[in-house]
Amino acid sequence: MNVLVCVKQIPDPNAPGKIDPQSKRLVREGVDLVLDPGDEHAVEAGLQIVEQAGGEVTVLSMGPPKALDAIRKALSMGGARGIHVQDPGLENSDALSTARVIGAVAAGASYDLIICGTESTDGSTGAVPAMVAELLGLPLLSFARKLTAEGKTAQIHRQTDEGYDIVEAPLPAVVTVTGGINEARYPSLRGIMQSKNKEVKALSLKDLGLEGKAGKGALTQEVLTIAPAEARKAGEVVEDKGDGARRIADFLAGAKVI
């Protein structure tokens, strides 16, 4: 089974985010960059598939030079090789550009599965994987909280608002995984050492034949303004001295719900 896992590098989600009012972009300076924790589950899912069925995991990331660290992290978990698409023209790319890049990389190889996170933790658009599926004419198995692949078929438990659906598709297919699908492994010391020698291929827009079709020349949206939202005001905070339940009941009665 040949698996392509798509990963994104993002500012540490545990650090409070800031936006530069001038450029209207996320401040990246002085912020730790990490492999998106959601994508760690995608890497884990890919590794579990090849451990079962044989084959290799290739890790793909599009991003600035530093994104190589995210690829190395995924390789230290067990990925076999990396692909790093970097190009100054890709700065500030939107989802469609990102999908065209991933699509162009995948079109040049024969992957059985392309595994992505459901949504990036920083952007939370969750659009890239379905776009990739459309561009490649592949089925999409989205919101997977369980994934199995056997022979020429993949099956998932697709999370829904009400529970889950069992969904099946022929391979090759694009899959998006939720955080609930697995516990992502920690890289072992050996894995970290080995990752340093694994091949990471660098590709540019030109290499992919996407000049003018992705990135700066092909943006589909523009940020106009960024402004603080109206904040909700705090009310009364009281300490429970045995009367907490009664005070809540009074409040509920005041709101006419009891």
């Binding site: 890239v128 776009m131 999409l140 889950y164 589909t220 603080p228 904040a231 809540i248």
Partner: protein, 321 residues
């Protein structure tokens, strides 16, 4: 007036609540029209019309029963080419996301996700999305037509309007079912008893502060007394105490009940973004510094294990039980 379309996702012929919310907004933006697909979709026409759809494009092909995104994209792209709407709204649901994203790739059209508001601007659109737990609002201008916008549930309140019924236009499109597609084999429901979270007037929600999965029993008892739905924080869902369908917040459900009671929830912004639209918020937390108190109308510093059972008792006795 330009047409503002709404992708009318239905479940067993009933529009999802977000569809009616979007129609309510769309009718103030242009001629509101809806696209309803799948067996039984005709049952939704009446309600779509009542919420502002002047026209409903309908296709009840069986293919929609088990395969959603690809056939929907076939129909939508054909309709869009023919009628050139300037805006198409989708609910930010699993299926809504898959359809809108595929459609964007097929048409090369701009897609903006997570929208909570939108307005006309210089002949185009300006779309508002919250970032950083809703503390900041970003306004984005999509370039190109049609603008595809994924709208967060509860961004608008659904309101029926008076007036005529929607005009129905049957759309005939041959759907190629021979290409590789993902198919639903079976649907499993894990819905809890009681009202649905999205529709409940009162929500009783628990966080990691409850200490253990079995302690949710005290919330269930309180919820039963109040006629409330039970929700949870992501910490609780990640720990496996409750299924994902309970999760409220950025990566879970958005709710807007009359009263939201948060028990043992710290109030991280990824949680509050999903519930701070509640009319009234009541929080119990043993930490006086918990961020949830910054948005609560009534905060009680105390132990949930003591307060919740007492509150259930108190309500019972007030009801004269």
């Amino acid at each position: 007036m330009a047409a503002a379309w709404v992708f009318a996702e239905t479940v067993d012929g009933t529009p999802r609540p977000v569809v009616l919310e979007m129609l309510t907004r769309a009718r103030g933006l242009g001629q509101a029209e809806a696209v309803a697909l799948g067996p039984g979709a005709s049952k939704a026409v009446e309600s779509l019309g009542r919420h502002g759809a002047e026209r409903v494009y309908l296709n009840e092909d069986d293919a929609f029963r088990d395969v959603l995104a690809q056939p929907a994209v076939d129909v939508l792209s054909g309709l869009i080419e023919k009628h050139q709407p300037s805006l198409v709204l989708f609910g930010m649901t699993n299926d809504g996301r898959d359809v809108a994203s595929r459609l964007s790739a097929r048409l090369g059209a701009p897609l903006i996700a997570n929208a909570t508001d939108l307005a006309q601007k210089d002949g185009g659109w300006a779309v508002v999305t919250p970032v950083f737990g809703g503390t900041m609002l970003v306004t984005t201008v999509p370039k190109g037509q049609p603008a595809l916008v994924l709208v967060r549930p509860k961004a608008f309140a659904a309101e029926a309007k008076g007036g005529g019924a929607a005009q129905v236009e049957q759309v005939s499109v041959t759907i190629d079912t021979n290409r590789p597609m993902a198919r639903v084999l079976k649907r499993e429901r894990e819905q809890a008893s009681g009202p649905r979270l999205e529709e409940a007037t009162i929500i009783v929600s628990g966080g990691r502060g409850l200490g253990a999965p079995e302690n949710f029993k005290i919330l269930d008892e309180l919820a039963a007394e109040l006629g409330a739905a039970v929700g949870a924080s992501r910490a609780v869902v990640d720990a496996g105490w409750k299924p994902y369908s309970f999760q409220i917040g950025q990566t879970g459900k958005t709710v807007k009940p009359a009263v939201y009671l948060a028990f043992g929830i710290s109030g991280a912004m990824q949680h509050t973004v999903g519930m701070k639209g509640a009319k009234t918020i009541i929080a119990v937390n043993k930490d006086p510094e918990a961020p949830i108190f910054k948005i609560a109308d009534l905060g009680v510093v105390g132990d949930v294990h003591k307060i919740v059972p007492m509150l259930t008792q108190e309500i019972r006795s007030r009801k004269g039980k």
